[in-house]
Symmetry: C2
Subunit: 166 residues, 2 copies
Amino acid sequence: MDQNVFDDPRITAIGLLFEATAGLSARFSAQFEEHGLSAVEFEVLMRLTRSPGHQLRMTDLAAQTSLSTSGVTRVVDRMERDGLLRRRACPSDRRSSYAVVTAAGLARLDQTLPGHVQIIEQWFTGQLDPAALDALLDGLRQVRDAVHPGATAGSTDPLPAGAGDC
Amino acid sequence: MDQNVFDDPRITAIGLLFEATAGLSARFSAQFEEHGLSAVEFEVLMRLTRSPGHQLRMTDLAAQTSLSTSGVTRVVDRMERDGLLRRRACPSDRRSSYAVVTAAGLARLDQTLPGHVQIIEQWFTGQLDPAALDALLDGLRQVRDAVHPGATAGSTDPLPAGAGDC
DNA sequence: GATGGAATATTGCCATGCCTATAGTTGCTT
DNA sequence: AAGCAACTATAGGCATGGCAATATTCCATC
């Protein structure tokens, strides 16, 4: 084991990426908690709310988040219990069901978003002058397009419909 | 709930960061699994191996990873069972114990690292020309320094000793 | 119109890891 | 020296979420 491996610029680079992301995640989680949400619940709320009709099939929601389908079942269970979502049967396909954001869910997201955006501004976008930020985002976009995990959390991607026929 | 919120450039920016990171994480996890490691175990192995004597106190290991102290107890349990680490009592302070990387642990890391670095090169550093990469890393460094979560995964930071007196 | 394969959501079982409580040390203060 | 607060590692209880199995529904093919 060569000690110099740790000084490899690639190791350093990936370390920077993960440390920056982890630091931001921690701040987000703390703020979500103030509003009674977990990071996953916020992610789900964002994805649903920006989808047509504020709804998605369970499968599509899983594909667009960091969760498996069973994970979606469970987080939707919790959020339905808390009144943030409700399930709606799909009339044209009795296998499917939709998760729909309720008024309470929209209100919760409304409460949470300003602080969320403010944290992004304070610790991320606001840390860099506009040119540096553009350069950073261009680089990230290129990496994201390359590694493309489907569509995950942040929701930058064009929406792959999913609301379909119901 | 204003639909335009989702087009806020700050939301877009944070989305890019998290999607890129998530995509890389997924590739890493797949490769770690080929070598019988989880992401956390790799993180622990990296942190310990780059520390003086290939060892850290449990507390320091927790501070330098994404785990709590009880999380460290449990991951060290597993890795000790698998022969990758062993515990060593600290003679000068009977409260403390060290996690020490074994020869098998070093060998496992040796097996894993080349592929890991290759993935970084293929999907991250190699995706950008040198100037763009530098710009990206400068931006990340600035964000990391601002949000500074202590020392986490990637291990870019100078080491806060921790091997101390034993 | 049957039938078999694909799709969908859910559940059981399990691993992981956090929070809190606990027990053992240490060292400072009186 | 006795007491006490801080520190350290661990264990119990709990929440989360993945994988595999399951039941239901759809659809294409015969």
